[in-house]
Symmetry: C2
Subunit: 451 residues, 2 copies
């Protein structure tokens, strides 16, 4: 078992028509390793190799291919072959693939699936993205409560290959409603003649199919579960979410948060697979929003044109000052967005964090003020005090914007991750211009008036 | 089982000295729920409640408390009580706690632990942070190869409560070297009289204790394992990493990447628990580095002082232009950093991505150029062409910096996540100033010369 196959040996066997070796290699390898080897071959060869193996080996290997490769292979395959293979792909992976296929192909393929697989697929694709239903699998182990431990073992032995996990066995009533759970571990240590409803844990934790998928991730993380049952509107057991699904959910959620911090709109696929038009559409709107915000900074500078004209050396420190406010704001915003996302910080912590942020920001501002006063003493000593004072206020202002924006967005039911560095920087820029030229105009009062 | 306890009922029972109810509640609740209820009580009450339960219940509940609460409770506890409880905390969690304790307390506590627990703890704390050894647990199920399936079941029944997982049983030779693995599922479906070394999977995947912890996360994610064995220098089985450990590793790694993108230095604890001095130290160096980079932008402006003085309206568009270059760069950098972190993109993809980035950036630049030309036509038509042209070049420049920096850092063995938005923005700012005033000076050639 678990020999790692190479694309080279697959190619050789394919060329000499050695179907037996291919079948054996597929049976012996972990499906992830098979998928990895197939990726190095052209689509037609990869597909022929998959069809040469047992479906029970080829299905999981196919399910481990990247989504866009799965879609390509299915699009060029004969419908009957595709349906036969898809019958043996995990239900949640098959549903993900169906979502990626064009509607006509989906409609052609569906009737060729086995009845059970077809119903599962239709149900799973119907759930909204980002819900629990969209990540769950329908391949769970469920038994009636009157079954004995002994009979349950027999059931598991028979059913194990077709289930995502048998380490949690769910007990359902005659209407299919979730009544309890028995771990395989508990099953092992129980008397063979007892009934499942006697040994089951009745206070089983569950999620509903229409809850956001982050809910299930948080529960599995909190309780260290290997799987969590999902119930539907009628309280019936509809599926399970396994911990490996949660790993994928967490990675996707983190990626979405990173992208929002860029800020970039939803891409929903890998960077290499994303079309140029998609990348353009994800980026252009944000750049335009930000540029129109920057007009305000420009307007601020225009408003203080007399001050600038009277003391042109002020321009030298402008980028440095407003950038520092933005940088401090970017730090605060990122710390808060991540802390809110991981549950480290809640909305109610806002006031306590604000007080801390003010203390830290003043310290940072004074540090930066000293640094910039040093630079000014060399380059433009006549405005040293203005620059140093502006730095303290600008860093404080930027930090507070960065701290408050994520909380404000959360409060207004927006995603706090929208407080991207560029957005915070834009707001801090406007504030920075007003602070800097405001202080300069006040300090240089007479000079400006004379000019 | 699994009744969720409340801090209120714990408090009541504590006040009336109802030790029995407390013990029952601890036994019935999931340790994560107990920990959650204890968090609402003061430290002294929480500790007294833990000591009133069975150690087998109190240990896991204690292990689910946040690290800094664990440390506080242990610091104020009597050494004997602390050691008794710590004996029953999961080995990996105990090791994490020991790392957080002061050296004198650590030295006081260690001799009071049971021998096995002491040796485990000493070994686990010795591994460098960010290695597999630092996240693994020593509580795995291992049996000799000559054991029969029947005897293995008996072993698992006895040992299960003391193991992190019994869903993978490792087979070791007489020197403790990893020889194979049997899943509990396979054990169930095997003949009771066969030997473990007959049914085991010999090509077992494993990691080494001194590998980076991201390696184990990637393997568990790829193969959908529930646990992965860890071997040490002598190829001996040293521990396991379970999938719930990987969930924590992935969250921590993502948080570290977010913070680097801020940019903020290593904090290593929650935001609320981090001291003000720690926050200051994590933020100030980056702000100073960035401000000194911004001096270059200022120097650029100073160099073009004549151009600016001749056409003061140029200043109006300066923040907007350099910010747009920085924003486009921030988008590219964030997309690349995340794609490199998730393995979506590799170093070798650089050239292909560069070609795509140029196409997308030119489209973005032209869009932005049109937008800014429109603004200029209202505010300062005399420099419309300069501004529009500069925008196209600046956005292209910023995007390319954002794309290339993560790859460059990876190539130089630095962490690509250091290509934070503010860092990219600083580099783009410098370029933006030179591009803008360069184009302006060339376009306005005569006017500047006259002035």
């Amino acid at each position: 078992m678990n020999r790692v196959p190479t694309s080279g040996s697959f190619e050789t066997w394919l060329n000499i028509g050695d179907k037996k070796s291919i079948g054996e290699a597929l049976a012996a390898a972990h499906p992830a390793d098979t998928a990895n080897a197939l990726l190095d071959l052209d689509d037609a060869s990869a597909w022929r190799i998959l069809l040469m193996g047992r479906l029970a080996d080829a299905g999981p290997a196919f399910g481990h291919l990247p989504m866009e490769v799965q879609a390509r292979l299915i699009e060029q395959a004969r419908v009957k072959d595709a349906a036969r293979l898809l019958d043996r792909v995990a239900a949640d992976e098959r549903a993900d693939l169906f979502k990626a296929l064009d509607e006509p192909l989906r409609a052609t393929l569906l009737p060729h699936l086995s009845l059970r697989q077809r119903l599962d697929t239709e149900r799973l694709v119907s759930y909204d993205e980002h819900t629990v239903g969209a990540v769950m699998s329908t391949e769970f182990a469920a038994v009636p409560g009157e079954l004995t431990v002994r009979d349950s073992f027999d059931f598991i032995r028979d059913e194990a290959p077709r289930k995502e996990t048998v380490y949690a066995i769910y007990v359902v009533d005659e209407l299919g409603r979730l009544a309890g759970v028995v771990s395989l571990e508990d099953l092992l240590t129980s008397d063979q003649e007892r009934r499942m409803d006697e040994i089951m844990d009745r206070d089983v934790k569950f999620v509903r199919a229409d809850e956001p998928r982050t809910a299930v991730a948080e529960m599995i993380r909190t309780y260290d579960f290997l799987a969590l049952p999902v119930i539907n509107g009628g309280d019936r057991l509809a599926g399970i979410v396994t911990v490996d699904d949660v790993l994928d959910v967490e990675e996707e959620e983190a990626t979405e948060d990173f992208h929002k911090m860029a800020p970039v709109g939803a891409i929903g696929t890998g960077i290499k697979e994303a079309g140029l038009a998609l990348l353009y559409r994800a980026r252009a709107p944000w750049l335009l929003v930000l540029v129109f915000m920057n007009i305000l900074s420009g307007a601020g500078i225009a408003y203080f044109e007399d001050t600038l004209a009277a003391m042109i050396s002020l321009a030298f420190f402008l980028p440095l000052l407003i950038a520092s406010g933005g940088n401090a704001g970017s730090q605060s915003a990122t710390l808060m967005v991540r802390a809110l996302a991981t549950g480290d910080v809640r909305l109610s912590d806002w006031v306590a964090l604000l007080a801390r942020e003010i203390l830290v920001s003043v310290a940072l501002g004074v540090t930066m003020g000293v640094a910039v006063a040093f630079i000014a003493s060399v380059r433009a000593p006549e405005i040293g005090v203005i620059v140093a004072l502006s730095m303290v206020v600008t860093v404080l202002f930027g930090s507070l914007v960065g701290l408050c924006l994520p909380f404000l967005l959360t409060r207004l039911k927006f995603d706090p991750a929208m407080s991207s560095s560029p957005l915070v920087t834009s707001v801090a820029d406007i504030g920075g211009v007003l602070i800097y030229f405001g202080i300069a105009t006040w300090w240089l009062g007479d000079i400006v008036a004379v000019a």
